[in-house]
């Protein structure tokens, strides 16, 4: 499990400026010179015009002119992103997403006071790909309290990919959400069958109330005869006391193998003598956990062979 650095090393404005440099570089490596010239020319037009019309037309034209291929960043480029903003992993971005965010970063830099209004207005009439782009960009926009409402609306979306643009591979929630909003984001991710692993700061932001809510949710699912995501226990583990400990034990002792593994992984996050005793009862799996062979990343497919 790699630790995520949630510290923001740079002032927010600086992050946006540096993000513009990164995006410029990434796009230049993937676009033809005609395409980059078009994008540059459109940016100049947007920046030197009072009406929003050029902005709307440019955002609409971007996929037509630049295509919708995956950005497919190299490891080196992903490391650049991580270095700029800890936990920012633009692994699922497409070319048009990057170009749209590049435009928005320029707007944010030029008119920081207007920016949250601009984003709110754009989101109101966004198509699906635009919504995904606008919310993915939260990773690099200058942070401001006035973005709060827009982000909350995005989280309420019924479109999984829009929700995930905020929740996944994006340091914004961990750095900005209250516990209340954070907890509801985690719960909603489980509700809509989204995965928790790509949520930046998942372990760092775990809290006792969330563990409580998640165990209630697990009980609801059990009562309805439905399955419970094994990822749920990751947020319960560090706070597993009393009845929550009983829930974990139930998972460890009665579930299929992958549930048992998840239960034990969760248990290993709980620093207590009781937890260690339980883990020692499952010495083979515990050994795999201690050697970091069994992790939350591979729990779905891992098979623990008894050490000789």
């Amino acid at each position: 499990m790699h630790a995520t650095n949630l510290q923001c090393n740079l002032p927010a404005e600086k992050t946006t400026v540096n993000a513009i440099d990164l995006l410029t570089d990434w796009l230049q490596h993937r676009l033809s010179s005609i395409q980059t010239e078009w994008l540059d020319a459109r940016l100049q037009k947007i920046m030197h015009c009072d009406s929003d019309r050029d902005l709307h037309i440019t955002l609409g034209m971007i996929p037509r002119k630049l295509g919708r291929d995956d950005l497919q960043l190299t490891d080196r480029e992903l490391a650049q992103a991580e270095h700029l903003s800890g936990g920012w992993r633009p692994v699922n971005w497409s070319i048009d997403t990057a170009a749209r965010i590049w435009i928005l970063c320029h707007l944010a830099q030029a008119e920081p006071d207007r920016f949250s209004n601009t984003i709110a207005d754009l989101c109101r009439t966004a198509d699906l790909a635009e919504s995904i782009a606008f919310y993915s960009g939260l990773a690099v926009y200058p942070t401001s309290a006035s973005l709060d409402h827009v982000v909350a609306e995005g989280l309420r979306s019924n479109v999984k990919a829009i929700f995930e643009a905020i929740a996944h591979n994006n340091p914004y929630p961990a750095m900005n959400f209250s516990d209340h909003r954070w907890n509801h984001m985690i719960l909603k991710a489980l509700f809509i069958d989204s995965s928790l692993a790509p949520i930046t700061g998942l372990d760092e932001r775990a809290n006792a109330e969330l563990a409580e809510i998640l165990c209630d949710y697990a009980h609801e699912r059990w009562a309805a005869g439905r399955t419970v995501s094994i990822e749920l226990w990751r947020c319960v583990g560090p706070f597993a006391t009393d009845s929550k400990m009983d829930d974990l034990l139930k998972v460890i002792n009665s579930g299929p193998q992958r549930e048992r593994y998840a239960g034990l992984l969760a248990m290993s996050m709980r620093q207590s003598a009781a937890a260690t005793r339980i883990l020692n009862d499952h010495a083979d799996v515990y050994a795999c956990i201690k050697r970091e062979e069994l992790t939350w990343e591979n729990v779905d497919s891992f098979s623990c062979t008894t050490p000789s």
Binding site: R68, R124, T125, A126, N158
Partner: protein, 308 residues
């Protein structure tokens, strides 16, 4: 055989309809912006409606393996509310370049008032500006003269008939529409528009060049399988497969494909980003299963007691 329904108000339909359409081989639908059964009285509700058909409805269709496109425009009934109409004209350019917008429409005449004429013409100019096809709604009353007038006005504005789909044709209008070089669409809509036996007679008489079949299904008693059922009936009655494919698939693709926003590859070979985000793919295409027409009523039988 694959089908496109180039006129379907899916926002008014249930998930049963989507399931039945997907099972029967419908791979794409075009949702024209229309009158929702009672007048909108604020431009804000219009904005939210247009946002729905470019956003959530597109996502909803994608969950059933159906690609969803739309047209945007101010319909003729609501053109008679001048204040609303002015507001809509102001925001329409924001929607014209959204992903999946294949035309300006459905526009044209209802009672053939001065205001209807004014906003019809303004929208023809908008279509020209954005190089988009036009979907014309021909009036229910005084249909023949309304249809002729719609084409006259298009020509007055210098619009190429090959960019115009004239919809809701019948036996009385079809010859002139085809002779003047326009696309002629027919809505298989019980009781008020075309029946599919009459449609087969038209295909027999005129062939399928520049003719397309749609369901125009909406909030009224209508038939989301109108295109599929017409295709089957036509095949049964001896129309060639090629002709049926033109009328029920290919011509819609060619006519609306002039927007650059609807392409066969969208369902045959979807972009990676779409497969990750907004399109669940088509099990029929992937699994090679023979399409079947489900009876949606079966799912609504009160004898089927178990709900999980």
């Amino acid at each position: 055989m694959l089908f496109i329904d180039p006129h379907a108000h899916m926002i008014s339909r249930t998930t049963d309809d989507y399931e039945a359409m997907a099972a029967a081989g419908v791979v794409a639908v075009i949702e024209p912006a229309f009158w929702i059964g009672q007048p909108r009285t604020y431009v804000g509700t219009y904005i939210d409606y247009l946002s729905s058909i470019i956003g959530f409805e597109r996502f909803r269709a994608g969950q059933f393996g159906i690609r969803h496109y739309c047209t945007v425009g101010l319909n003729s009934k609501e053109a008679n509310n001048a204040e609303l109409a002015e507001g809509v004209m102001e925001i329409l350019p924001r929607f014209a370049l959204k992903e999946g917008v294949v035309a300006i429409g459905e526009i044209g005449y209802d009672e053939q008032t001065e205001l209807e004429d004014k906003y019809f013409r303004l929208q023809l100019e908008l279509a020209k500006e954005f190089d988009l096809p036009i979907m014309i709604h021909t009036p229910h009353r005084d249909k023949k003269r309304g249809t002729t007038r719609s084409m006259d006005v298009c020509e007055e504005h210098g619009i190429d008939p090959s960019m115009v789909i004239v919809d809701h044709n019948n036996e009385e209008t079809v010859r002139e529409v085809l002779d003047r070089g326009y696309w002629a669409a027919f809505s298989i809509y019980p009781s008020t528009k075309m029946g599919n036996e009459r449609m087969v007679d038209i295909l027999t008489e005129y062939g399928a060049e520049r003719i397309m079949v749609d369901s125009a299904c909406d909030w009224g008693i209508s038939e989301p399988l109108g295109v599929v059922k017409t295709a089957r009936l036509a095949l049964q009655r001896g129309i060639s497969r090629e002709q049926v494919e033109l009328a029920c698939y290919r011509n819609a693709l060619t006519a609306y494909g002039q927007s650059g926003q609807i392409k066969e590859e969208h369902w045959l070979n979807p972009a990676a980003i779409d497969q990750r985000t907004t399109y669940e793919g088509n099990s029929i295409l992937r699994g090679g299963r023979e399409p079947i027409v489900q009876d949606p009523a079966v799912q609504r039988k009160a004898d089927e007691l178990i709900i999980e």
